[in-house]
Symmetry: C2
Subunit: 399 residues, 2 copies
């Protein structure tokens, strides 16, 4: 049977503003609104294809689908790798559509939230069981009816967890202009995690030379960049991670002033006091829970906490309680959540800064690369036990 795989997320929208486009809020809206139309659309397309007879340009399309909603730690077996097929032709009458061959898929912690259906409102809609996952990736345009894209263009942005994706909202993609750096970097330092580090540190925290910066999950895609940004500003920066290897990397490769293994610290408050006897001005929050509680005790007057994520909490039935919030009053702490999507208007400014640093070797960047789309479930699941060392991504074609 011939099956046309269209990710309903990408079906024909007109958008006004690229910064808005990447807002998860919008994505959330899109997911919910378009989901309703998914079945009708798929049925119509499949019927058209069947009526046209077997498509000579159909190719195999391996996909990673979610089997069912997940509670607790996700397992590889919560996902399936299925083989479907897809036409390399863009369905007749589909305007402003591109067909992508996916090259790299990005494994990002926020995806955990999308594997569950929660009663608590989230900034992004859950995945649909039985459908391919989607997320950030790097891809090549195979076919296009959109005036801005042509065959051979390289893009990064939202795509499906599959070999090929038919994208009907290519405004959710950014064309790659600079190819003299590794393409995979557009899943990380040159993509969403890069903008997350940049916006959270520079825009949310307004760092000043000499300030004391603490980064949790510091060897991850975002943390390793924040630490290096802090050094560029002239801050004192300490990071924490969950293994000796990672902790060593923080000081030896990324230039952190200090680092510790949080798993070997029975008293996080004491550990922070050891590294920050004068307190913390800026906390780049990636983990939440007990760590946040300990950090609050060690914040300095007028400290800033950029809340990027809380990975330690994502697999808990109920998030841990944070007890020391009263600290924000006396110390006048500002705690602020943010999403990279709100800052994409700064992307070209960011590229102007970061590309020379990469080319001159002044910014280090570490990737953890899984080979082949079949390895994607394990790579994604590995994020939540800290298996990855550096930015976790998947090369779709592992051959």
């Amino acid at each position: 049977m011939l099956c046309v795989n269209v990710n309903p997320l990408f079906k024909g929208f007109t958008f006004l503003d690229l910064s808005l486009l990447f807002s998860y809020k919008l994505l959330n809206f899109l997911c919910i609104e378009r989901q309703k139309k998914k079945i009708i659309f798929l049925e119509k397309q499949t019927k058209q294809q069947l009526m046209a007879g077997a498509d000579q340009e159909a190719v195999r399309n391996k996909q990673v689908t979610l089997k069912h909603y997940v509670s607790g730690f996700p397992k590889e077996s919560d996902m399936s790798v299925v083989t479907s097929s897809i036409s390399l032709k863009i369905p007749q009458g589909s305007k402003d559509t591109v067909l992508l061959k996916n090259i790299y898929l990005s494994c990002d912690p926020y995806m955990r939230g999308r594997m569950s259906k929660s009663d608590i409102p989230s900034f992004v809609a859950p995945f649909q069981p039985g459908s391919p996952l989607n997320g950030y990736g790097v891809a090549k345009v195979v076919n296009s009816t959109h005036p801005n894209y042509e065959k051979g263009d390289l893009v990064w942005g939202f795509t499906g967890w599959e070999e090929y994706s038919l994208v009907t909202s290519p405004e959710l993609l950014i064309k790659i202009q600079h190819t003299d750096v590794p393409l995979s970097y557009y899943t990380g330092i040159l993509g969403m995690p890069g903008m997350t580090a940049y916006a959270g540190f520079y825009e949310v925290c307004s760092p000043k030379k000499g300030e004391h910066v603490y980064v949790s999950a510091a060897s991850g895609a975002v943390g390793q960049l924040v630490g290096q940004f802090a050094k560029l500003v002239g801050c004192y920066v300490v990071g924490s991670a969950g293994s000796k290897e990672k902790v060593d990397l923080l000081t030896s490769k990324f230039g952190f002033d200090g680092a510790f293994n949080y798993k070997e610290e029975p008293d996080l408050d004491a550990a922070l006091k050891r590294y920050f006897p004068e307190g913390i001005d800026i906390y780049y929050e990636n983990v939440g829970g007990k760590m946040l509680d300990a950090v609050l005790l060690n914040m300095r007057l007028r400290g800033r906490i950029a809340v990027c994520g809380m990975i330690s909490q994502y697999n808990l039935e109920k998030p841990e309680g944070v007890h020391n919030l009263m600290q924000v009053v006396g110390k006048r702490i500002r705690m602020e959540g943010f999403l990279a999507g709100d800052y994409y208007h700064l992307y070209s400014k960011y590229l102007d800064m970061i590309l020379p640093f990469i080319k001159e070797g002044k910014m280090k960047y570490l990737e953890d690369v899984a080979e082949g789309i079949e390895s994607a479930p394990a790579a994604l699941v590995g994020l939540f036990s800290g298996k990855n060392v550096g930015k976790q991504l998947v090369v779709v074609d592992g051959k």
Copy 2:
């Protein structure tokens, strides 16, 4: 025996900046630094007085002292009302000192923290068992060696919980210029609570017309003002309080658009959804704990939480855990602690705004007045069971 009562908090400092002076951080420093000198100073003064013979101008000085550090809910019996005496003369050689006759004492929730000695750093030093409490009040200058103050001047600011206080750091006092409003208002709407409401709402939250504002502990000294400020800006405002009487006051007297009794709401999330079906833009946080958790679920995109205090937590051995902090990420919530002391440079601007409103009856203000210094312990303790209706203060001379 003649005893000179000198609050060590007020002994001769030179300060640069009035806004800094009122910073609790500074007060904390002062308390700690000066405590060390207290015994030496008192011993010296007492010796001088004894050598000079009986002071003809000594008067009775009733004082409220802390008996011992408190855990859990404070009780009246944790304080004592003792009768001492004080000379109305300023000790020889004491420059820049004023002797105050206290008129009104202010009962404020933050004082609970000062009744305990905690391992967790606080923004203000604890009271000293055996010594008089201190806090905000309104007083008349009885005697002065400070060039800026003379007998008969009225002041508000930090003073002792006693009939007379010898203040050696009058920079911690503000001279009262407007006496055509009730003097007691300088413990509330025209004093620290007024500046707390003003700074927290206008400066921290940057409210816009049409926004949805929620105020907890809304009939208290600060909450009643925040609600009225919100209406001045053109916001929709709902408050919560702990009795039918208070809830009625919110809508009938203070002009809130809605109000509810949190004690009668088994599901705070559901209550908030009832009053804010479209969510909350601004939360003026006075209570913490479960209420904050419920509010987080109901905040809107780019909501602001001004963290003024968390009175529901002050008497707990360990503060409750707040579980829904992950909401700050997707909704880009800014949560910010503040102290009125950082905004005292805006005091005259605030007076320019608020005095006409008071005189024209456009701002309502409700006080709960306890008569006589003997009633001060009960009045202070009453704050923590919500006994007070409106701003709790004490008239020192209850006759």
